[in-house]
């Protein structure tokens, strides 16, 4: 007969296996949420098919941009620009299964260009404040929010204070559950750098959130 400890251990191991299975399942679902042939149709100029792509990926792409810039209005604008560029370049997408990674790659470029442009503009008027810090109050919490407003604000601030590379890898890994390989193709950074950035980002976030994380 199994001891209680070994039962607990088995159930814990099972949970871990389930976690990796759940992750696999999530990845498969992310791919299968776009019906087969939709990307192909969109490549041929089918607007309806492209609308399906927008409906599926509009939310993660917009949220990714918004978490980076923390400015809803600008994020909406840049998300639109991302999808227009995606439509223009859809024929360049080699592997339809990598559509979401490809879209995040475009979004990342669009954000980078926008930040670069706004930094240039700021220099012109003598300001040198990082875009992300200037725009930190762009979030509106939905009603009935389960996280404390103060905690949410603290996470926002902590995110905003990460440098661009760390914030992007943190967002793609933790919020969007992308693999290192996918993040590498989105950012162009080596997996080694991504791991270091992510580890440091987590450490910085932890430092700021310490009071909330204590058991």
């Amino acid at each position: 007969m199994k001891s209680l400890a070994s039962k607990l251990r088995d159930s814990w191991l099972e949970n871990l296996n389930n976690e990796s299975e759940r992750r696999e399942q999530r990845e498969k679902m992310a791919f299968s949420e776009i019906a087969p042939g939709v990307v192909e149709r969109a490549k041929c100029g089918d607007e309806e098919a492209f609308h399906l792509i927008f409906n599926r990926y509009g939310r993660p792409v917009l949220s990714f941009i918004n978490h980076h810039l923390q400015n809803r209005g600008l994020a909406e604008e840049l998300a639109q620009e991302t999808f227009v560029r995606a439509y223009r370049n859809l024929s360049g997408l080699k592997d339809d299964l990598r559509l979401s990674t490809w879209l995040f790659g475009i979004a990342r470029n669009v954000v980078r260009e926008s930040v670069r442009q706004s930094r240039k503009d700021e220099r012109k008027v003598g300001l040198d404040e990082p875009e992300s810090l200037k725009l930190e109050s762009g979030f509106v919490l939905p009603e009935g929010s389960m996280l404390d407003r103060e905690l949410t604000e603290t996470i926002h601030k902590a995110l905003a204070e990460l440098d661009d590379d760390k914030r992007i890898v943190f967002s793609l890994k933790i919020f969007h559950e992308k693999s290192y390989e996918e993040i590498s193709s989105i950012t162009g950074h080596s997996i080694g750098k991504l791991k270091t950035d992510l580890h440091r980002a987590r450490a910085e976030m932890r430092k700021r959130l310490e009071p909330y994380l204590a058991v």
């Binding site: 990796s20 509009g58 978490h67 909406e76 998300a79 999808f83």
Partner: protein
């Protein structure tokens, strides 16, 4: 695995990024280490907090977002990029400037033209001789095939009854082993062999053209592509019918001619689409 190593790998372990062997080591270590289990729990709590944060702060695009995108993409001319006016040099020598794949296909078509021409000539000749033989029966079968084409005796004497069932590209080595040493081919056998060869060459050209068409697919209007696909389906059905007829009547020269004509039409159609 010691605690230091385990804690280095823990983050990747929770992301599902560790190779299975290393993940198993971490799992094993966690079974007996309360310190590392506590670290794992801490990371999991953090992850849960971040995920909750994401779920609560992720936003849906505004209702008017799609309209704004739609307006912009409606004005996009990108799908017709290759329909620009061509200069006279491009018109005359355009096929040479076409992508490599299309050039290979063009070359393949030139080559099969020679081979298919021979087959058709043999077919006609076979027909004429048959008609002559009906008027003036000849006591022996002509060995001209084997003499005029010495290579043919080295390859496959395709049995007439298997004319259409021989799979192109595959029979050579197998048939070589079964080959009786130097029996001259009969007219029908030679014809069958030429047909198989021509069919094989057409199929190679079709494969190349298929890839060339696939490369151009994004530039072709969806409506035009639908028409192309339905024409192709019609031709494929003619090919299938001719093959069926050849299986039933292996000596039917007309069925062979139909088969080659259908292949020729298919190649022509694909060529038009791949190289326009």
């Amino acid at each position: 695995m010691n605690c230091e190593r385990c804690q280095i790998e823990l983050e990747d372990f929770l992301y599902g990024e560790l190779p299975e062997r290393l993940a198993a080591e971490v799992r094993q270590h966690l079974v007996g280490c309360t310190e590392c289990v506590a670290e794992r729990d801490r990371l999991e709590r953090e992850n849960a907090l971040f995920m909750t944060f994401y779920e609560q702060t992720a936003i849906d695009p505004a209702a008017e977002s799609w309209e704004a995108i739609r307006t912009q993409i409606a004005a996009e001319p990108v799908r017709q990029v290759h329909e620009q006016k061509l200069g006279w040099r491009q018109t005359m020598f355009g096929w040479l400037l076409a992508p490599t794949l299309a050039q290979q296909a063009a070359l393949a078509i030139l080559l099969i033209a020679v081979s298919v021409g021979t087959t058709i000539w043999l077919m006609r000749r076979g027909n004429d001789e048959k008609q002559l033989a009906e008027v003036k029966p000849s006591p022996t079968a002509s060995p001209h095939g084997a003499e005029s084409n010495p290579k043919s005796t080295e390859t496959i004497p395709v049995p007439t009854k298997d004319l259409a069932s021989v799979e192109p590209g595959k029979p050579t080595s197998q048939a070589r082993r079964e080959l009786p040493p130097a029996r001259p081919l009969s007219d029908n056998e030679l014809l069958a062999q030429q047909l198989v060869r021509a069919e094989r060459e057409y199929q190679s050209a079709v494969k190349l053209l298929d890839r060339a068409v696939a490369k151009r697919r994004n530039e072709i209007e969806p409506e035009a592509f639908k028409k192309y696909e339905s024409s192709l389906a019609l031709i494929d059905s003619s090919i299938a019918q001719s093959k069926k007829a050849l299986r039933e009547f292996p000596n039917d020269v007309a069925a062979g001619q139909f088969l080659l004509a259908a292949y020729a039409r298919k190649v022509e159609l694909m060529q038009e689409v791949a190289m326009q």
